[in-house]
Amino acid sequence: MSYLVLVQNGIAQGLIIGLAALSITLVFGIARFPNAAAGDMLTFGGYAGLFAFSATHSLLATGLAAIAATALLSLLMYYAVFRRLAGRSAVSLLVASIGVAFMIRAVLGVSFGHGQLVYEIELTRPYIVGGVRVSPLDLKLALIAFVTLAAAFGVLYMTSIGRQMRAVADNSDLARVSGIRPQRVMASLWLLAGALTAIAGVMLGMKTIVAPEIGWEILLPAFAAAIFGGIGSPIGAVAAGLILGVAQELSTPLVGFTYKIAVSFAVMCAVLVFRPRGLFGKAEAVR
């Protein structure tokens, strides 16, 4: 029965990793570089949500405020930095994104200190489902994550801008001669990437604490999930995030809290040995 609890925790952790990994894989597939600022965008979302939650105590308002603030930050990053570096090598953009990450973290640290802040959530009686205690907050957070993922996949696969994003990811030169507006696609990409990391930040903040370093610590598992899922594959990123999250939690009784991340990486390495392009990877772009 305790393993069911671990699986439940793993799914919650996996959804956070999966949302961040989806943001990373979208940027990689369309803007063609690994965005190391994704973790600190997540932290920013956690802070934005914290202040909204303190003011409203509404999960919906918290989620929407975090999305609005982080999506705007993401758009600002694009216009201020990444758009100006368009056409440079992926390494240049990666280094720029590391610089942006440090700037976000520094501003958050200077503004709110390096202490740990918490969402002051009222304790609620857990549901007992098949003998397993399920927190209502966990259910609500999972619901928010699934709604966010459904909205993101809906945008990607059922709308004009989503088709255009996938077209740019597939063949950016062809997209240009087909009349697809590159600026609009990029702006939409960064808004979407910001929204995804915002919800991940709120979930992580509610499940643990809010501090300037929380995003940095989740960045490596998120990158791992993006690679494990098949870089550029949105579905793969989410699936891999869930697998890594559950693997981490299930390994905790065996290896302890400190080494559980290592186990999830071992699982990732084992899969990549047999499937080098990852779970859903066909090529290096969003499909």
Binding site: V155, T159, S160, I161, R163, Q164, R166, A167, D170, N171, D173, L174, A175, R176, V177, S178, G179, I180, R181, P182, R184, S188, L191, L192, K282, A283, A285, R287
Partner: protein
């Protein structure tokens, strides 16, 4: 008028002589370092015209296409679309202005379905704006339905319906050429530049592609076509321009141009 004369008259009309030009290439030169790829090239495509562009490999035809569509900047010269210079416009902006191209080796959004390839190229959709997706869903839905209807018309027109849900990567070479034609049609073009539309295509599909091009031309779309298959090209175009070593060496009615001694020497291997 016998059948052959009648056919020649129809084909000659596709040169649309006398019509104002929709596309004008004026004195274009292009140097790559010390190499001169294009030297003072001028040509025009009349509104409603169907013009062929031929020349041996390396004559500069594809470079000229890349300059016309904005992928390469010319060293000198001007491109005009419906009388206005487009030299400062990006490839995307030129496509939006009504000038689109296909490629010698067909290009497609490989992992999007045939329908999605076509839908992606529809311009000015409300669904391109994230804001509208969430705050004007009704307008987005109506435009999506209109776009889907246009795509259905196009897949019917190009006879791609049977494979419309397949990822484009699974199409044959000829089907990809038709898909390219469909994709450029979705942009509502006034002039289409076709780069070797019959290359690697079986004769049945070549006939299909020719029929579709003629039908589109009759609807008012102008064409500039690079092609090495002279038999197919002369069935299609009303005017021919011939390039060699980066310059235009002849232009005019296809039969007259192909009989030109310089053309025979440069391109057809005949005596000058």
């Amino acid at each position: 008028m016998n059948a052959i004369t009648h056919h020649n008259a129809i084909v000659a009309d596709r040169g649309a002589s006398g019509a104002p030009p929709v596309l004008e290439v004026e004195r274009i030169s292009k140097h790559f370092g010390g190499f001169c790829a294009l030297n003072d090239v001028s040509l025009s495509v009349p509104a409603g015209g169907l013009v062929g562009l031929i020349g041996p490999n390396g004559a500069g035809k594809s470079t000229l296409f890349s300059i016309i569509t904005g992928f390469i900047a010319p060293s000198e010269g001007t491109i005009r679309l419906r009388g206005s210079p487009v030299d400062t416009l990006s490839p995307f902006a030129r496509a939006r202005a009504g000038m689109v191209r296909t490629f010698q080796v067909p290009r497609e959004f490989s992992h999007l379905s045939v329908r999605e390839n076509l839908m992606a190229a529809i311009p000015d959709q409300a669904g391109e704006h994230l804001f509208d997706l969430f705050f004007k869903p009704q307008q987005v839905r109506i435009q999506e339905e209109q776009g889907a209807a246009l795509v259905e018309e196009t897949v019917d027109f190009l006879k791609l319906k049977r494979i419309a849900d397949l990822p484009a990567v699974k199409l044959s070479g000829g089907q990809k050429k038709l898909l390219e034609l469909g994709r450029v049609l979705m942009t509502r073009p006034s002039v289409i530049l076709l780069d070797e539309p019959f290359s690697g295509v079986n004769p049945v599909l070549i006939a299909e592609i020719i029929d579709r091009i003629i039908e589109l031309n009759e609807r008012g779309i102008s064409f500039l076509v690079i092609e090495h298959d002279l038999e197919a090209l002369t069935r299609l175009v009303g005017r021919l321009t011939v390039m060699d070593y980066g310059t235009v060496i002849a232009e005019g009615a296809p039969q007259a141009v192909l009989a030109d001694a310089r053309v025979r020497a440069a391109y057809l291997g005949g005596p000058a």
